[in-house]
């Protein structure tokens, strides 16, 4: 399944500045693995040492928070859009 991953600006240093990348994956977990192989460092930004999504990062499948689906094991279909939304604090 080809899905689009929207990369937030703080993580774009890993993707050579790209705001959107495409990966082939059947689940979100697989998508994260693919991202890690393409852009090393991605996985540890998203998942903790137990392989669970970090508490200050959210992933949305289209407009739904994956924590309210099957989490990181949620299945993907062609054309899905994954958005990574980290907590940011700047008011500066």
């Amino acid at each position: 399944m080809a899905v689009i991953v929207r990369v937030p600006t703080p993580l774009r240093r890993l993707t050579n500045g790209q705001g959107e990348v495409q990966v082939e994956a059947l689940t979100i977990r697989e998508a994260v693995e693919k991202l890690e192989s393409l852009y090393p460092g991605f996985k540890e930004r998203l998942l903790d040492e137990n392989g669970e999504l970090r508490k200050f990062v959210n992933i949305y499948l289209n407009d739904e928070d994956i924590r309210f689906l099957k989490g990181i094991d949620t299945e993907l279909k062609d054309g899905d859009v994954l958005s990574i939304v980290p907590a940011i604090a700047g008011g500066f």
């Binding site: 600006t9 508490k55 959210n58 407009d63 928070d65 940011i88 700047g90």
Partner: protein, 271 residues
């Protein structure tokens, strides 16, 4: 019936002509009290538009002084004010813009000791602060006090904004439903690495002011249960669903947070 002066009728004519606002709505604005925490990149435009709109009382909290490095985005301050407290600088600008507005300044760092006392008199709270510990503190305090919170944050070319309506706790998710805990040091870009395009604050701060005004007027659909994410490089605005998390440590079924918590400051550098 509220008696507008001739000057007020002229000043607010473009509001009063809107059926959604009208004379009654303008009266609501003039009687409203909004607290803005942080007179920086988000607070500057938010305060300016709230003041121009005739929000009758604006509270401003900030402990910092105006620095040259602020002026690239903090449009309520100016070159002459460098070195003066931000709350005083903001107050002067508001007074020049609209004499109808009463400004109450709090030249102090918001803390678990003072926050409940500061927020208690306000109808709406805007969060424009620059660190996670303060954001979690403001969220928890607004939740306990039942105050609607308009929260925005930004980094580099990106912004996030949402409304947590704690007047209606049963139906509104909270900031901790979105992010249960602040990130530990090292996993988000450090303060030194961070930057911000100045105009992003203008966009996000104006959205905060708009949401606050909508809440006061009771019009439209506020961003409750929604997170608006803006990416200025592609100029994408996306809304994602924000659900009430049954396992939320603050508002969930087995909530464990019953009092204010002050997290350690991960980074105390100011821009």
């Amino acid at each position: 019936m509220f008696k507008f002066t001739e000057e007020q009728i002229k000043r607010y004519a473009r509001h009063i002509i809107l059926p959604e606002v009208g004379g009654k709505g303008q009266e609501k604005l003039l009687n409203s009290k909004v607290l803005v925490i942080g007179a920086g990149g988000l607070g500057s435009p938010a305060i300016l538009y709230l003041a121009a709109a005739g929000v009758g009382t604006i509270g401003i909290v900030d402990f910092d002084v105006v620095d040259f490095s602020n002026l690239q985005r903090q449009v309520i301050h100016n070159t002459e004010r460098v070195g003066t407290p931000k709350v005083e600088s903001a107050k002067k600008t508001v007074e020049m813009l609209n004499p109808d507005v009463k400004v109450i300044t709090y030249n102090t760092r918001i803390s678990k000791e003072n926050i409940m006392d500061i927020i208690k008199d306000y109808d709406v709270v805007l969060d424009g602060t620059d660190n996670f510990p303060t954001r979690f503190l403001i969220n928890d305090a607004c939740y306990f006090a039942g105050k609607p919170l308009v929260s925005a944050a930004m980094l580099r070319f990106e912004g996030q904004v949402s409304v947590f309506d704690y007047r209606n706790k049963e139906n509104s998710p909270c900031y901790r439903c979105l992010f249960p805990e602040p990130p530990p040091p090292g996993l988000v870009p450090s303060c030194q690495e961070a930057g911000i395009l100045g105009s992003i604050g203008g966009i996000m701060g104006c959205i905060q002011a708009t949401e606050a005004i909508k809440l006061i007027l009771g019009i439209g659909e506020p961003l409750v249960g929604k997170l608006l994410i803006m990416d200025a490089l592609s100029m994408d605005f996306r809304k994602v669903k924000l659900r009430k998390d049954p396992s939320c440590p603050l508002c969930g079924e087995k909530a464990v947070i019953k009092e204010l918590i002050e997290y350690e400051q991960v980074c105390d550098v100011h821009f």
